[in-house]
């Protein structure tokens, strides 16, 4: 149980070396934090679990009315609710994870100023909690498919790939928000704005085929465009086409956000306990 004579050296700028090893050592804390947040989330509110279902469902209903009935946008031959829900799932996952991760360090301030552990654990477990919501809302999608008698084709097996891209996007953006939030107090006002704004500039309520061809690459600068298009491609199947240049651009941007997010987080995390 005791790793005998393990030698630890503390020096300015030295934390780098045992960081990833520590992250592995603290995997149980990671598990317990995620477990705590999930437990508290579904314990605290009476409608706890239902909340994860009601929110996306009502959003979906409103979007169907606005974009399909009022704006009369084309649905590419799939039931409009499914078209929307296939996009709403990754978007809500991203939005929740980004918000929760962004505020995670501040809400765990006491823990951070009293105990050592790799700080990456905190936003990561916040993303995991949002992922549990994502899985629960997934039930609605299955329900919709049954209701409309819509069967996905082989492409559905590629879905985990797109889920991991959504994960990377949420994690990267969440790390940036979390690190900035510790240092600058006005970041917490920026986070909800980004989420709200992002919902309208992402192709959630409509298919991105509605975007004129010459603008699509530019549109894909929003990394969530690639994620959402990927989800639709995998779930809706049939004649849904993936716009590859745009998708690859989004993918590169997601990776860039993740890498820079980890880098910035790692660079600033040593001072978290001093400023939080």
């Amino acid at each position: 149980m005791m790793d005998d004579q393990s030698v630890l050296v503390i020096e300015a700028g030295r934390t780098e070396r045992h960081y990833w090893k520590d992250l592995w050592r603290y995997r149980e804390l990671f598990y317990f934090l995620a477990w705590r947040d999930i437990l508290v989330r579904y314990k605290q509110t009476v409608i706890g679990l239902a909340w994860a279902l009601i929110r996306p469902f009502l959003t979906m209903v409103v979007f169907v009315i606005v974009f399909s009935k009022v704006a009369k946008l084309p649905s590419d031959g799939v039931p409009y609710p499914i078209l929307i829900f296939a996009a709403l799932l990754p978007w809500q996952f991203f939005g929740n994870a980004f918000t929760e991760a962004g505020n995670s360090l501040i809400s765990n301030a006491k823990l951070i100023s009293k105990v050592y552990f790799p700080r990456l654990v905190v936003p990561a477990s916040a993303v995991i909690v949002s992922f549990s919501d994502f899985l629960i809302s997934g039930i609605i999608l299955v329900g919709l498919m049954l209701w409309y008698g819509f069967a996905p084709d082989w492409r559905i097996i590629t879905l985990p790939l797109f889920i991991s891209i959504a994960f990377a996007a949420a994690m990267g953006a969440g790390l940036w928000a979390a690190a900035l939030n510790v240092k600058y107090q006005d970041v917490r006002y920026v986070i909800p704005f980004v989420v709200q704004f992002g919902l309208y500039v992402s192709p959630v309520g409509f298919s991105s085929t509605n975007i004129p061809e010459q603008w699509r690459l530019l549109y894909s600068i929003n990394p969530m465009v690639g994620v959402i298009d990927g989800f639709r491609w995998a779930i809706l199947g049939g004649n849904t086409q993936l716009y590859w240049p745009g998708f690859l651009l989004s993918l590169v941007l997601v990776l860039a956000i993740l890498v820079t997010g980890i880098y910035y987080f790692r660079k600033t995390e040593k001072s978290f306990a001093d400023v939080i």
Binding site: Q5, S6, V9, V115, V190
Partner: protein
């Protein structure tokens, strides 16, 4: 014994911002200042970069060097702001040093707060696991010790109740129970023991002494000299971020008390006496034996002096001296009326001298002295916490031996033996 922790040239710098009192910076300010500086640079491209007058460096720790042997129990002493907490935070890896190097051999667990990570909505059972993980225990380890922890905390009945319904005593017991079952090679403890009642306090000290006896290293920060004295074998004194003393615990405590001249000599916290009319005022009070003032050596006679001034002579002033230990228990109460000193009528200003027999001594530790003056049974002057004294180990019995146990006081005694004669 080998070295457990080596600290070399350790320093930690903080930047203090004078401009605003806020805890956080605002991103908009940073952006605005950046833009301002950029414009300034564009307009005056050759101007020297200006120093930011709103920020000042503050060295919480400066060039600290010392070694801790494996199995040592080290007390870290210092006034508020001396850098004790910063040192613990660096040792626990919560914050990073600005420069210097620390080498630690063995697994470290730090306990800077009791109940870190407890969530009020979760049950006792859930919190044991959570808190254990926060303190660095493995899940299997927690499972193994679960029953022991529950028994120690005495919360069996409430294991499945959310801790928000716990009484504060139960909460503390549970939190400490988890921490007490950590088995690190090096245990770092901040003043968590300051909370809770005496029973709890003693339980904590006892548990930490056990940890020390098992050959583990303990690093302990406290303002409580008696707790430090009874627990630690070595001491480190910090003064304004610098290492003042490192050595045996008695030396460290003596050093600390001698540098804090305010507390070992007479002081009156409030300038004005609350009692009016101020017919009598206590000016000074000293306690001493053969050594430096404020330090009483066990086995020597204790002397004390009270200097006073009165508005008129021949008053029957009565002086009271209360001696309190660190738990604020009154261990001695000296009353000048008991000796009928006051009935004689005192000069309008002067000094009262007194002494305690060398056949009696308080147990080694720190004590706080309260002084009061009475006139016709009415309180005229009263100075709580007037000074602190330290009672030091000495050869009380003249035999070089020390009695067993930990009494409040020592008294010289006579024993004699008679043989039972068979009739």
């Amino acid at each position: 014994m080998s070295t457990g922790i080596t600290i070399e040239n350790l320093s930690k710098k903080y930047i203090i911002s004078h401009q605003k009192r806020e805890r956080y910076f605002a991103l908009r300010d940073v952006l605005a200042n950046g833009a301002k500086r950029l414009i300034h640079k564009l307009i005056h491209p050759f101007a020297a970069p200006e120093n930011d007058p709103t920020h000042e460096e503050f060295w919480a720790l400066k060039d600290i060097n010392f070694d801790i042997m494996q199995g040592d129990r080290v007390g870290i002493i210092g006034r508020n702001g001396a850098g004790k907490s910063t040192l613990l935070k660096i040792l626990s890896r919560i914050t990073e040093p600005t420069s210097g190097k620390i080498t630690i051999k063995g697994r470290v667990a730090s306990l800077l707060e009791v109940g870190t990570g407890f969530h009020p909505e979760l049950t006792g059972r859930e919190n044991i696991f959570l808190n254990g993980a926060v303190l660095g225990m493995r899940k299997v380890e927690i499972k193994e010790k679960f029953d022991e922890i529950v028994a120690f905390a005495e919360v069996e009945k409430f294991l499945d109740t959310p801790v928000k319904h716990y009484s504060s005593g139960m909460y503390m017991r549970l939190a400490f129970a988890v921490a007490a079952h950590l088995e690190p090679e090096i245990l770092i403890v901040d003043e968590v023991l300051a909370v809770g009642d005496i029973h709890f306090h003693n339980k904590c000290i006892g548990k930490m002494q056990d940890v020390g006896k098992e050959g583990r290293t303990v690093i302990f920060v406290s303002h409580n000299m008696a707790a430090i004295n009874s627990l630690c074998t070595r001491g480190i004194v910090l003064t304004q971020g610098k290492l003042e003393f490192a050595g045996d615990i008695d030396g460290a405590i003596k050093n600390y008390l001698s540098q804090s001249s305010v507390s070992s000599s007479f002081r009156r916290l409030k300038k004005q006496s609350v009692y009016k009319p101020k017919t009598v005022e206590i000016l000074d009070c000293k306690f001493y034996s053969s050594g430096s003032p404020g330090v009483i050596v066990c086995g020597e006679a204790t002397h004390f002096e009270i200097e006073y001034v009165a508005t008129q002579p021949n008053l029957s002033i009565q002086f009271l001296i209360g001696v309190y230990d660190v738990y604020n228990t009154c261990v001695l109460f000296l009353d000048s009326a008991a000796l009928e000193l006051s009935s004689r009528g005192l000069p309008s200003s002067g000094k009262i001298f007194g002494s305690l027999s060398k056949d009696f001594s308080l147990f080694p530790g720190t004590y706080t002295i309260n002084i009061a003056a009475l006139l016709h049974e009415e309180l005229i002057d009263h100075i709580p916490n007037a000074l602190q004294i330290i009672v030091q180990d000495g050869d009380f019995f003249g035999t070089g031996r020390w009695p067993r146990g930990k009494p409040l006081a020592l008294v010289k005694q006579n024993w004699r033996v008679e043989e039972n004669n068979a009739t």
